[in-house]
Amino acid sequence: MWRRTVPIMITFFVGTVLVVAEFIPHKPFGNLGEDFSLYFDIIAVFAFILGGGNLCRVHFSKIYRGKTDWQFSIVTLLGFFVMLAAGLFKIGNPMGIQGDVTAAGSLFADLYDSIFTPLQGTMYALLAFFVASASYRAFRAKNIDASILLIAAFVILLGRTPAPSLIADFFAGAGIGFMATAFNFVPTLTDWIMDVPNLAGQRAILIGIALGVISMALRLILGVERTYLGADSK
């Protein structure tokens, strides 16, 4: 009862109230959505203790048991505790403990700028390579679907650069008028693909997603879907 029924009732209650609140401007319903988000943020901070604890446990046990690459676990833990201390105690913060945690000049901000930012940026930048290898592999005219994918991608790729007008100029210079005209149309075609079929596809996806979300949300609110609650017995 306390383990299963109550949670389902809570889900039902909170979900229903939030749906209904959308239509009630009067206090306290008007701001309920925001309040929920605030609540969630606060719960998430508490929950972090579980996550952070798990991180420490995993790496401590790796070091303790001397598993492969245990040396790097030391680095992880060091990074974690140094950053945590720098942030929680606001070490080197020009305004002391009152200042913003990310205030420039603090150890926290320095570590962020010189270590966190380049790592984050580079990891993100790896996409440039992966996008190239993925398109090399995926854009092959294997069948109708793949061919359409290929053509659409290729036209957009071409149209997003100044290349078409350069090529058109080349053809115009060589006296091949119709080719020049054709290449001059590439940017128009790009816009057309983005504005028309792309838009249509996006809309179908968006409407589908909306219905999927609605149905999923109802399954959760009504307690039909209760996987997330876990085991019945202890």
């Binding site: 889900t11 508490f46 950053m83 270590i115 990891m123 930048a125 996008v131 036209v155 128009t188 609605i214």
Partner: protein
């Protein structure tokens, strides 16, 4: 100044460490990864602690409690609920009563379900349906040359797509429309003539068919997502056309994105060449 140079060198060291992963996994990458994981976890916790727990919870809740002792009720006292839910979450660390953590979880899931239901209904479903309702055909009074050229290309494309789709629905492998071939051919011919006339017409008079193709795309796309019916017959044909539209969407989005992915790397290369090595001004 000096600390700045040290910072740049550290950044360059880590940048190259991550990039080395492209060649293969190696200790340099492992080091960069390890420091990234640890540091960022610490970063997030510290930020959440100050920016959520302190700024949003403590600064609102503690004055409310104080004023309660002075006999006044403050709306912010409701934050107590959040604190209690957070503590309940932590009860997971006490196995015998760990199940209590399901309560805050139910609050989270219930709230998420409620909010998403409404937001997606309004922003994704209702609004997108509303903006799809537009004339399938319009007759713009005057349009510039390039634009009209675009429209003509568009129209020819529309007709081509229409014909191919029809052909697919009628003669495609998965087509199960039960009509004699001559009848099918007859329909197809009518469509062909209509499209030809349309093309001819759009050459002489501005005719904008973008609405039609958007309508078709949304309609067929929705049919593709239909679960209640097998994709056969007309339904199968329409669903296939729907997948084509999805493919165009994916291809276009992919193609559109390549550029920005490149620019991310430009940022890093810029850092290496300009800020670190200073070989480019």
């Amino acid at each position: 100044m000096d600390s700045n140079i040290v910072g740049v060198w550290i950044a360059a060291f880590l940048t190259l460490g991550i990039m080395s992963f492209l060649y293969k996994d190696n200790p340099w990458y492992k080091f960069s990864e390890a420091i990234f994981v640890g540091l960022s976890a610490g970063y997030w916790f510290a930020s959440l602690f100050w920016q959520s727990l302190h700024a949003k919870f403590w600064t609102n809740w503690s004055p409310a409690v104080q004023s309660l002792f002075q006999g006044q009720f403050d709306y912010n006292l409701l934050y107590t609920g959040a604190g209690i839910l957070g503590l309940m979450m932590l009860l997971r660390l006490v196995p015998p009563i760990g199940w209590i953590s399901r309560w805050p979880l139910s609050v989270v899931v219930g709230g998420t379900a409620g909010l998403y239901l409404i937001n997606y209904l309004v922003s994704n479903a209702i609004r997108q349906i509303g903006s799809t309702i537009q004339p399938a055909v319009t007759f713009p009074e005057s349009i510039g040359w390039v634009q009209s050229g675009g429209v003509i290309i568009g129209n020819v494309l529309v007709f081509a797509v229409l014909l191919v789709s029809l052909g697919f629905i009628l003669f495609g492998r998965s087509s199960t429309i039960d009509l004699p071939t001559p009848t099918k051919l007859f329909f197809f011919l009518i469509a062909l003539v209509a499209c030809g006339l349309g093309t001819f017409y759009s050459l002489s008079m501005p005719l904008n068919l973008t609405g039609l193709i958007i309508f078709m795309g949304v309609f067929c796309g929705l049919i593709y997502f239909f679960f209640s019916k097998e994709h056969t017959g007309f339904f199968g044909g329409a669903a296939t056309v729907g997948t084509w539209f999805l493919m165009v969407t994916f291809g276009a989005s992919f193609g559109y994105t390549v550029m920005s992915r490149m620019s991310l790397l430009i940022g890093r290369i810029d850092f290496l060449l300009v800020e670190w090595l200073k070989v480019v001004k």
